[in-house]
Point group: C2
Chain length 328, copies 2
């Protein structure tokens, strides 16, 4: 174990994770994430909470070194390493907060996982927050790089969530357009709002539909240079026939030379840097969510079978994750 025990690294991670989770729960995360200077009144407006209670929270963030006070003005700004910390504690937020209904009812899941899964459900917003914190330094940049390399003008994101990645892509190139497809009405609402705030709503179409529905109506895929899908395909895959049909539909709809970029998890990744997180991810999916993950080779074989001419598998994306780049 590579721990500097004098420093108690775990204590730092734990504290930052809890303090930022409180921020996400009370709704100050957008102000903090923006990196701009803010006053307590700004937080009160964003959250509807009292200035007294928010001042106490900001004092704690300041004592922890996560925000810096501007000289003598009662104004604050996220610290320079705030975004680095938010990324690192994304794993804690996912493992321990988003999954807390699983952990705290582990006995029920090990006794009868189907019945427990019906009773103890995760909060979709907490799952989305932690995924964003993890993704913004890991698979987001990896996907962006591929989209830019492909000089893609039209990008379709399957399971786009709040469309953070897609909006980044539209902001990078004013000629680029996109389609954000997601099953969740709340995610679609969040995507529309975020697109409006970013000023790209004229180039982003938000469609509330399942990935599976594309088999019978592939309309949303039309004209795509890149189709991307982050951590959604392992759900689709639980019905192998449906998954094959989805892949064939994507292959057919892509422009010539177009790319399907899938970020997803592999079963029990064994690189030293990933084996712990991948073990947790694989175990929870298999025993708490009823989702069996394929190995990297099994993923690649599925893309090949659907007709893609070339399939790359990129590791070093995130622990237990791979980016599959399948070219038409």
């Amino acid at each position: 174990m590579n721990l500097d025990s004098a420093r108690e690294v775990g204590a730092d991670f734990a504290a930052v994770a809890a303090l930022l989770q409180i921020g996400a729960e009370i709704g100050v995360d957008q102000v903090l994430d923006s990196g701009r200077t803010f006053g307590i009144a700004d937080l009160a407006e964003a959250t509807g909470l009292s200035q007294d209670s928010l001042r106490n929270y900001v004092h704690a963030l300041s004592a922890a070194g996560l925000v810096a006070a501007e000289d003598g003005k009662d104004l604050y700004r996220a610290s320079d390493d705030y975004a680095d910390w938010r990324h690192e504690v994304g794993y804690l937020s996912w493992a321990l907060t988003a999954n807390s209904p699983f952990l705290q009812n582990a006995r029920a899941f090990l006794t009868d996982s189907e019945s427990a899964a019906d009773t103890y459900r995760r909060d979709g917003r907490r799952v989305a927050v932690s995924s964003r914190w993890i993704g913004d330094r890991t698979f987001y940049p990896a996907v962006v790089e591929r989209v830019v390399a492909a000089d893609a003008k039209h990008v379709v994101d399957l399971g786009a969530g709040a469309a953070g990645l897609l909006i980044d892509l539209l902001l990078q190139d004013g000629r680029r357009s996109g389609v954000a497809l997601d099953l969740s009405p709340a995610a679609c609402d969040a995507a529309r709002e975020a697109a409006g705030r970013a000023g790209v709503d004229d180039r982003l179409q938000v469609i509330e539909r399942s990935v599976e529905s594309l088999i019978t109506d592939p309309g949303p895929l039309e004209g795509a240079d890149v189709i991307q899908a982050c951590f959604v395909m392992h759900d689709v895959l639980q019905n192998e026939t449906v998954f094959e049909d989805v892949l064939r539909t994507c292959h057919k709809a892509l422009a010539p030379g177009g790319v399907l970029a899938v970020v997803d998890a592999v079963s029990y990744g064994q690189e030293a840097r990933e084996r712990k997180f991948s073990a947790l991810f694989t175990y929870l999916h298999s025993n708490f969510m009823g989702i069996k993950l394929p190995t990297a080779d099994q993923w690649v074989e599925k893309f090949r079978s659907a007709g893609f001419s070339n399939v790359d598998c990129v590791s070093q994306i995130m622990p237990g994750g791979r980016l599959f780049v399948a070219t038409k």
Copy 2:
């Protein structure tokens, strides 16, 4: 920030914390903690869960490098670094799992903390588990060192919980005896069981009472060479007069040259190694539990006022924590 981002340290911490939390929830932690070789059947006996479900869990632990399989025998043992990891993730277990009712209802606490505190309560067992994981490498050894240095024959532990620290002290010296005092019937039951397992029940008296009750009946303190109290005095302190009376009672009851050893938290500790965890600890106590923590100087002054001739304040115990050694 001292992060090796290529390695994604946060992911390792998150994964280990979640996997060990599941172990504590399903009740395999005592087998794992013992360090002895075990089979799946041993876990089934300890937990009452099916061997299939336990085999899947052990497979995940093994993939994560937290248990090692003995060659070809279907027998397992905790890895050599298991205890180190358990200690480091104790902070995560406290911050994110034990405190999850606070974090997940943060809006309610920032709106009306008294009403929220009545509604959203922590699970005492989860608090105790995380405290033990943190304590066994930090304040436990620091207290043990003082007890040994004082050549204490009779030790009274206030707020002893499951009496882990006291039982260790009794195991170290067959002539030593102890009193474990705790308000919680469950903690007292656990202490009696643990003393029985350790074979020290003839030298350990367990008393179900509050610390405050010692003012009117100091009987349990009689003959103490060392009185120790870990993270219980900040509760007592919320009534300053009662706290002063408790300290005077301890002072009076101690043998000549006897020692009161108090491990507790200070308000917003500012050493670089502790500022993040101390910020969380102070903020949660103040705004979610209604407990104001003193500074180190304020703690020392209180021991002096109660008549102790010499008071040492030892840092480097744990982030945000101090060991106060007050000599009669």
